[in-house]
Amino acid sequence: MGEQEKVAELRSLFLVHSNPEKAIEMERYMKNNFPFLGLQAPIRRTIQKQWINSNKSLTIDQKWSLIFELWRQPEREFQLTAVDWVIQWNKKDWFIDDGKKLEQLIVSKSWWDTVDLIASNCVANFIALFYKTDHSLLYSWGKSNNIWLQRTCLLFQLKYKSNVNIPLLTEFISDFHSNKDFFIQKAIGWSLRELSKIYPHQTKEIIANYAIEGLAKREALKWISNHAN
């Protein structure tokens, strides 16, 4: 069975539970950027779990072909399935040249629902595996002028906890803090909030040194203000 047939099979399973009323609600929540089938998350996850299991024995190239076929589908549930699947991949499924593939997923059909998951899971693991000391890929994303790649640079360390590379995060904050785009400011705030849970003093220093203000500052200081004393 080719990838188109496999995705068509998933579509048939999704269609059984599609809900046009729910779809309108979901589309509205995502600012009408994508059409939805109206599948509620628990149902989608159960169906996709069985579908993913049936494709577990594929080679990594076949898996990537399926991921991009899912990405080509108009309805958002297919991209969410693709992301949930890639998140589950093991270390052995990743190769050094997969950066380009991740980039494709970040820059096409971009919105926070897929980009944030890709950044904080897939890119996080990928960078830890192949680009821990060589930051050339991240720098090229940072210079790309694509806000979703830049947001990824800010968010990929969200789950690194005490292993976070503070100078690298600071570098990206320094590069992007003058960009007033909502998604960049929110990402600066979010990355600093996660940092503040481990390194509150360094977080405050970054906020002061780069004159972080407004939304980014509010988001950054949320954890510290809730845990004062």
Binding site: E9, S12, L13, V16, H17, K22, Q40, A41, P42, I43, R45, T46, I47, K49, Q50
Partner: protein
């Protein structure tokens, strides 16, 4: 002038209170609906996981099951309200009224069994008998897990 102002203020207060109550009531209804939707989604996910239906089976089974769920829900709502009323009015109701009410409750129970039988026969046309049995088991397990969750939350 002052009298007019006070009448207007009174009307304004009444309208505001009405709007406020309307807002609260519609919010509560929406919350109930959303809870019910979430539960339904959880139940569908649970059954899907347990039954491992093929695409063909899923396509034939789910429309039948959804139709059954809607009918049984409607029936159970009627039965619940009858029983609820019975509890409240038992002292003030006449024997005849109680008899009629009880008879309605049994009617609803009978209808429920009939509906279950009707849909059992429909399921067996699209699923192997083992999966039909698994469906009933899964429905029971889902209820049990739900009750456990509610108990654990308390």
């Amino acid at each position: 002038m002052i009298k007019n102002f006070s009448i207007n203020l009174n009307t304004f207060m009444k309208n505001t209170a009405f709007l406020f109550l309307f807002f609260i009531a519609s919010n509560l209804v929406a919350q109930q609906e959303s809870k019910h939707e979430k539960l339904e989604a959880m139940k569908i996910a649970f059954i899907t996981e347990k039954l491992s239906l093929t695409t063909k089976e899923a396509q034939s089974f789910w429309p039948i099951y959804n139709e059954y769920s809607q009918k049984i829900e409607k029936l159970r709502k009627t039965k619940r309200s009858d029983l609820g009323e019975l509890k409240i009015n038992i002292e003030n109701s006449s024997d005849k009224e109680i008899e009629a009410l009880l008879s309605d409750v049994f009617d609803a129970k009978t209808k429920e069994i009939e509906l279950q039988k009707e849909y059992y026969s429909k399921y067996t046309k699209v699923l192997p008998i083992k999966k039909v049995a698994l469906l009933y088991q899964s429905e029971h397990q889902f209820k049990k897990e739900l009750l456990k969750r509610i108990k654990d939350k308390k």
